[in-house]
Amino acid sequence: MERRRDAVALGVVDVATVRGAKRGDPLALEVLIRQVSPYVGRICAAIALEDPEDAMQEALIAIVKGLPSLREPGAFKAWARRVAVREAVRVARRRRPTEGIDERLEAGDVDIDASVDVRVVLAAMRPDQRAVLVLRDLDGYSEHDVAELLDIPAGTVKSRLHRARAAFAQRWSG
């Protein structure tokens, strides 16, 4: 599988906006939501496949509610990412498992063309596996950083990543 090294841009989130939003200024908070939304949306869509908009909304609500507890406005990006991944995994786990990929392929509701259908492969993984893959391959984090962000051992990150990439490679070659 081709590894993506171009990390997803968070967009321009300036510290003054974070400070204003942290103080509860609605206009600053509205700007912050707009700035961080594309990034949170990509995290949530890749982890909470069945309910991406719900996951995104809940992640952003957790971010705006938790903002007063953020001590250092400069650390907003890392903190927002952690919250978004946590909420996306929570929303994805809440949903009952959907039918298997094979059934969906047979039913013809999956569009597989020459390129790999990322969504199909992601759907075959558990939410926590998707979270590892998103942070490592979509966001460009090191395995060490991913382990810290998700609060799991580095060995677990390595094994989940291995399985996730193998799933991609299998689908790609198949």
Partner: protein, 155 residues
């Protein structure tokens, strides 16, 4: 390969922003007119807000640079107008009263079959004052009930 993506529509954006303020009263309603008709009507603030907002007697707007407006609002029980800063974009409007005294959020999205889903929130934009949520909620509920009737009967 393309990764999945998600977007926050205007109504979800309103819900997210309102969630920051415990005093916020929020409500949503389906309007029986298309978005392209409903949103310009809703954003004709001076003419139409006093017709459905139970608190507002009169509004005056002045355009500022960068798409913002300065707005004066006369409420029914107070003779002096209150100044607001207003930002409007398609489907979303935020109005913040001077001194963080009041916040109004308006959002709308097309709801298929010629209808519009409209959401409205009002709050005191500070991170406390939860006890104000109930009166705000009653006020917003009454406003949206009135809006639904007025926008349908406006012709």
């Amino acid at each position: 390969m393309t990764w999945p993506d998600a977007e926050l529509d205007a109504i979800r954006r309103l819900r997210v922003l309102a969630s920051a303020y415990p005093s916020a009263g929020c409500a949503e309603v389906t309007l029986g007119v298309p978005f392209d008709d409903a949103w310009p009507w809703l954003m004709d603030l001076e003419r139409n807000v006093p017709r459905w907002d139970t608190l507002v007697r009169r509004l005056r707007l002045r355009r500022l640079p960068e798409g913002e407006f300065h707005m004066w609002v006369w409420v029914r029980w107070w003779p002096i107008p209150w100044p607001f800063r207003v930002r409007i974009e398609p489907g979303f409007c935020i109005m913040q009263g001077r001194g963080r005294a009041f916040l109004v959020l308006m959002a709308a999205v097309p709801d298929g079959l010629g209808r519009t889903r409209y959401a409205h929130a009002e709050a005191v934009p500070v991170r406390r004052l939860r006890f104000l949520r109930r009166p705000f909620q009653r006020m917003v509920d009454a406003d949206l009930a009135q809006l639904r009737v007025v926008i349908q009967d406006r012709s």
